[in-house]
Amino acid sequence: MPIVINSLDYQLPDDPRVSLLDFIRDHAGLPGTKKGCDHGQCGACTVLLDGERINSCLALAVMHEGCEVITIEGIGGADQPSALQQAFVKHDGFQCGYCTPGQICSATAMLAEIAEGWPSDATDDVRSCPRLTDEEIRERMSGNLCRCGAYPNILAAIREVADAGQ
């Protein structure tokens, strides 16, 4: 069975050492997903795997037979940007842009998690449904580093899309 990336089928690699990140970039030719630390610490490689955000650097491609991956190219492009992509542009949610695909993939999943009522470490009572405070957004985005320090604008971009959706 192939692996499905942005609705297209790809044959799994022969070498089991190929990370899902390297597979996406070098085998599927989708360079939007970025390699930052390659150790699960920076979040630049974040993609959606069967709808959930993961670090693609800490995944082996061969372990994902039949899985569906969505990368930043699958979320939207220049012709049809997603609401989050537009908001990142509007609010200057980046400087160098290297972490941005990971930030946007991560934020896309995060808004879905909030809609599902998933708690976080910033949620006062794990029994309750979380409210999307700034503290919640910061905690939920802590797996995505931005070394340019565009955090206030990233927060503003996510805030705008979250508020529009409510």
Binding site: I54, N55, S106, G143
Partner: protein, 327 residues
């Protein structure tokens, strides 16, 4: 990363058979193992992928819940039954790692995660856990994150996780499959081991054994807290942590189950604390007495001396919060 043979296991029986072979590692989420393979800290000749086994269910048992070992950390933390009846477990999981990692990481893998001792993760340094007999770099090196209880002259590494600390407080049981075909159960409190003169053994699993589930007991109620002290407020390992289940009935402590993270090679549980607190009226003096018992045998190597007063104060603050005694 060194080359390896990749095998997909279709059943626990098949996985157990292959796992017994030398240089073979089981993989589930892979968030720790793949990282260590990139660093060549782990160099398995064979990787056995457990994901096709599909035991990702959280099922009700006669008493409590059975969590399949492949269940993701996220799936446990968002489960309504766990949030309602075992909030300390949801809180501990949410205090660890990031959403990306928790989505991938499994319950079984979390129990088996390795230490973050920088001498363990750097193959240019001596480490008795990684390479028995090579020495311990941390003993005379940088040891800020290291153990203050249960360490040995061979190893002062800590177990870094959060999830297992809450499971130790809850007295959860680990279900283990092996060759015999009959699964055995062991308390989370007894699953990890102190280093002694065999620091390469993190836990009591024998070759060919696999964690297949964690069983939670019947809901215990009480106030459940997880207090984690770390150097930044998100995505950092604990310097120390406390999982607490405290129940006060008619002004007296009816239950105080406490477990501690990142101060030893295992989630630290000291039965004496529960006994000391049981039946007593909550007070600062009582909590100080309990904290003194906890650190009675604590020893630092210099860099980590700060953890002794830190865990003492963290325990007192947690007990004050749980019982509404003003600190």
């Amino acid at each position: 990363m060194r080359d390896f043979e990749y095998i997909r296991a279709g059943s626990v029986k098949q996985a157990v058979g292959i796992c017994a072979e030398a240089k073979t590692k089981a993989i589930a989420g892979g968030t720790n193992l793949i990282d260590l393979m990139k660093l060549q800290v782990e160099t398995p000749a064979r990787l056995i992928d457990l994901n096709a086994i599909e035991d990702r269910r959280i099922e009700e048992t006669d008493a409590g819940l059975r969590i399949g070992a492949l269940t993701s950390n996220t799936a446990v933390a968002i489960d309504k039954r766990i949030r309602a009846d075992y909030p300390v477990l949801a809180k501990a999981i949410l205090a660890g790692a990031t959403q990306q990692l928790r989505n991938k990481a499994s319950v079984g893998g979390n129990l088996g995660q390795r230490t973050r001792c920088p001498y363990f993760t750097n193959i240019d340094q001596p480490c008795n856990k990684r390479e028995p007999g090579s020495g311990c770099g941390a003993l005379k090196g940088v040891a800020r994150i290291h153990a203050i209880l249960g360490a040995s002259r061979h190893c002062i590494a800590t177990y870094p996780g959060d999830m297992a600390v809450a499971m130790a407080a809850l007295d959860a049981q680990v279900e283990i499959a092996g060759h015999s075909g009959k699964n055995r159960m062991i308390a989370v409190r007894d699953f990890h081991r102190c280093p002694g003169d065999r620091p390469e053994l993190d836990n009591i699993l024998q070759p060919g054994e696999l964690v297949v589930a964690v069983h939670l007991p019947a809901p215990v109620g009480g106030t459940q807290l997880y207090r984690k002290v770390r150097e930044r407020s998100s995505y950092a390992f604990a310097l120390c942590s406390v999982a607490a289940i405290v129940d006060v009935k008619r002004g007296k402590i009816a239950r105080a189950d406490l477990a501690f993270g990142s101060i030893a090679a295992k989630p630290w549980f000291d039965e004496r604390l529960s006994q000391l607190l049981f039946g007593e009226r909550a007070s600062m003096a009582l909590f100080e007495k309990a904290a003194d018992v906890l650190i009675e045998e604590a020893r630092g190597v210099g860099d980590n001396d700060y953890k002794i007063p830190l865990v003492r104060r963290t325990l007192i603050a947690t007990l004050c919060e749980a019982t509404e005694v003003s600190a």
